[in-house]
């Protein structure tokens, strides 16, 4: 018997005025699955990810995370979903370390959060910059902080938009290993990327988007 999908979109579409950025689509991502979404610039990949993460409200349709509707059962769905945008923004008055502290507090991770935060920062080479404000970090480091914030909290579904675009090869390699481990532990991962080598090394399913149409075959 097939497991319940961790991420599900039903009849989802998004338009900006007359422009249809994402045509009506259905999708499902299962536990232990990595899906790499590719396609040309302007195909609608980022818009789709934004809709799936709740950052952009779909024009039609709904999104279910482990069966919880992202807009009707907001709290339950968001406890299970993490999204890393391609250009993350941060609170300008909080340092790197305080961002991790804040996310842990917000998601109720109180016990052992410091150890988790230390390990995340060391893994991504941010330990030395823990007391720096994010606006003083390089683009790659900001992306690593965005990834750390997603990984430190509880989730079942991980969405990432161009996760390696600003990373050095060593960090990109480390991220690939991390994603594979997550997959092996039953998490569902959907990421958009132009990086063919990333798709190769991750294996998993490949979906393609073009002019707002999703091809999952």
């Amino acid at each position: 018997m097939m497991a319940q999908p961790l991420l599900q979109a039903k009849g989802l579409s998004r338009s900006f005025g007359e422009f249809q950025a994402v045509h009506t689509l259905d999708l499902e991502v299962y536990p232990g699955e990595i899906v790499v979404l590719s396609g040309p610039n302007g195909a609608g990949k980022t818009t789709l990810l934004l809709c799936l993460s709740g950052l952009l409200r779909p024009t039609r349709g709904n999104v279910l995370v482990e069966g919880f509707d992202l807009y009707q059962e907001e709290r339950e769905a968001k406890q299970r979903l993490a999204f890393v945008p391609d250009v993350p923004h941060f609170y300008q008055e909080l340092t790197t370390w305080e961002h991790l502290r804040f996310i842990c507090l917000a998601f109720g991770v109180e016990h052992g959060w410091e150890e988790r935060a230390k390990s995340k920062l060391r893994e991504f080479g941010l330990w030395e910059s823990r007391d720096m404000y994010p606006h003083n970090l390089s683009r790659g480091m900001r992306l690593k902080l965005g990834i750390s914030l997603a990984l430190i909290r509880p989730f079942q579904v991980l969405l990432m938009d161009e996760p390696t675009s600003a990373l050095d090869p060593e960090s990109a390699g480390m991220l690939v290993e991390k994603l594979k481990t997550l997959r092996d532990n039953g998490y569902a991962i959907l990421l958009a990327s132009h990086d063919l080598s990333l798709a190769e090394s991750l294996g998993g399913k490949r979906w393609r988007m073009d002019r707002g149409q999703l091809e999952t075959g």
């Binding site: 993460s53 952009l56 409200r57 923004h89 008055e93 305080e98 507090l105 910059s129 003083n136």
Partner: protein
């Protein structure tokens, strides 16, 4: 003409073009129609300016009547004198800390690398900055002068008195501008002294601070001594405000301005322009952003400048759940707090005091409107800052209603405490606030804050938030807040006017509180729904 003056004048002409472009006048067009249009613009803005100053004069008259034992001219002299000296102290401190001369990148290349006479640079840059700085003081002085005339003539401004008002305005402006020039030139001279060669003199910044403190102590000890020491400033001001001995006052103000300019000329031969350019680069960028009208970016730039590179982790204890938002707000507020922020809180406090002390309902309504605007802005600052970090904020596992409450809680609490403090002080001054005001104030603040939040959220778009752009607070939000917060207050006042017994006053206050609570609850639900449905 000296190259320095040429460069500076062309810069000032560029600034003027900015303002003329705003009113639609093209200085390069020499046609007759443009000439006529210029005359029209000048007349229109002169009348408009006069009308605004006359309107503000009514408020000023109310303020002057609160000063007991002094004539309006004496009270005005003291108010403007204190404001001028406080500003000079602050400007002196900042000039001793960083360059008062602001150079653009082009200036840094064209002027600062060349062996031009530094004294000319200092004077040219000072004079360019003096006029805009002096306009604020000129406006204040005119308002108080008009207010004094209103109180003397007991009839407000009527057109028959227009010439006497214009003459009085000119008299006071002709004195305040050279006085301001004198003090500002001394501040710039202090800045020039600090920027001599490669030597840094950090102690220079403390001279104005110690001088200011000395004056305050002297004022507390001996009234006569302080009047004697400050005579060169107070005499011209007095002459400007009461109109008598104007020529003597004007002459003294001009002499003081000359002394100030000479001090600047004397202090600046060894002015290190490269250091000045380096120190002023950030402020030049901030100025440019202001000219473009992007106040949001300017505030961000200033905050980042203040924050620096990093900070040790905050020791404030946090709690899990939605309390995390309050923890974050506390950390962010304490880190981002600057002089402007403190002044903002003081403004809320001062204007609320004005509501209680205002002599009539007209002045009270004005003060309430200004207070509502300040409260709306202050209580939604954090909400707007968080909206700019949409990708993080939106992913938090909280409902829109919870997020809203958490984000307005701290500023609403702060505003309430300040308002109650103002009530306590006014009570000490013999103006006991009515019970209903004490009871209704927190609900009114919350109502104003949520209505402002509703206005901001209604104008937010996901695509803009994802780019770090949150909508500004619109006038509609402030007006709606005033109306909704005003409804229970009007109702309570009406009931209390029918019957003055304590029981009725208490009952009406409780009814008003229930009504305010109901209105606030509806607004909160609406705002939470708007937050959830941001498209």
């Amino acid at each position: 003409m000296e190259a320095v003056w040429l460069v500076r004048l062309s810069e000032l002409a560029g600034r003027m073009r900015f303002w003329t472009a705003i009113v639609g006048y093209n200085p390069r067009d020499r046609s007759l129609s443009q000439g006529i249009y210029l005359i029209y613009v000048v007349i229109f803005f002169s009348l408009w300016g006069f009308a605004v100053l006359a309107l503000l004069a009514s408020l000023g008259a109310g303020m002057l009547t609160l000063v007991k034992g002094l004539s309006p001219a004496e009270a005005s002299t003291i108010i403007v004198g204190v404001v001028l000296l406080m500003n000079a102290t602050w400007q002196g401190y900042t000039s001793g800390k960083r360059s008062p001369f602001i150079f653009s990148e082009t200036d840094a290349e064209l002027i600062c690398q060349t062996p031009v006479d530094r004294r000319h640079v200092a004077l040219a840059w000072f004079l360019g900055d003096w006029i805009p700085g002096g306009l604020v003081f000129a406006g204040l002085a005119i308002v108080l002068r008009f207010a004094s005339l209103q109180l003397v003539e007991q009839g407000g401004i009527v057109w028959a008195h227009l010439p006497s008002y214009l003459l009085a305005g000119l008299q006071v402006v002709s004195i305040i501008l050279p006085l301001h020039m004198a003090l500002m030139a001394i501040d710039y001279a202090l800045g020039a002294l600090r920027l001599r060669g490669d030597i840094d003199n950090p102690w220079l910044r403390w001279i104005p601070v110690w001088a200011g403190l000395g004056l305050i102590i002297l004022a507390l000890i001996s009234k006569q001594d302080i009047q004697f020491i400050l005579w060169p400033v107070l005499f011209p001001l007095q002459a400007g405000f009461d109109g008598s001995r104007w020529l003597a006052g004007f002459s003294l103000a001009i002499i003081l301005a000359m002394v100030g300019l000479f001090a600047l000329y004397w202090a600046s031969p060894r002015l290190n322009l490269s250091r000045a350019a380096q120190e002023s680069r950030f402020r030049w960028s901030a100025q440019q952003v202001s000219w473009l009208g992007d106040s949001q970016l300017r505030r961000e730039m200033i905050t980042r400048q203040k924050l620096g590179v990093g900070h040790q982790a905050s020791r404030i204890k946090g709690r899990a759940g939605v309390w995390a938002l309050i923890w974050k707000d506390w950390v962010a507020t304490l880190r981002g707090m600057n002089f402007g922020g403190v002044m903002g809180w003081l403004g809320i406090f001062g204007v609320y005091l004005g509501i209680i002390l205002a002599p009539d309902w007209g002045a009270r309504l004005w003060a309430f409107t200004i207070w509502s605007l300040l409260v709306s802005q202050r209580c939604t600052e954090r909400l707007r800052a968080d909206l700019k970090v949409w990708a993080v904020t939106r992913q938090l596992p909280f409902s829109g209603g919870e997020i809203l409450v958490a984000q307005v809680a701290t500023p609403v609490l702060g505003t309430t405490l300040l308002s109650w403090l103002a009530m306590g002080i006014s009570s000490g001054l013999g103006f006991s606030p009515v019970i209903s005001l004490i009871v209704l104030t927190p609900a009114s603040i919350l109502c104003i804050a949520l209505t402002a939040a509703f206005n901001i959220l209604r104008n937010c778009r996901s695509s803009e938030l994802l780019a770090g752009q949150a909508a500004e607070l619109g006038a509609g939000g402030v007006v709606l807040g005033i109306i909704l917060a005003g409804i229970p207050m009007v109702m309570v006042s009406w009931i209390a006017n029918q019957d003055h017994t304590t029981g009725v006053i208490w009952l009406s206050s409780l009814l008003g509180l229930a009504l305010a609570g109901g209105i606030t609850y509806v607004i909160w639900r609406l705002t939470a729904a708007t937050y959830r449905n941001i498209n």
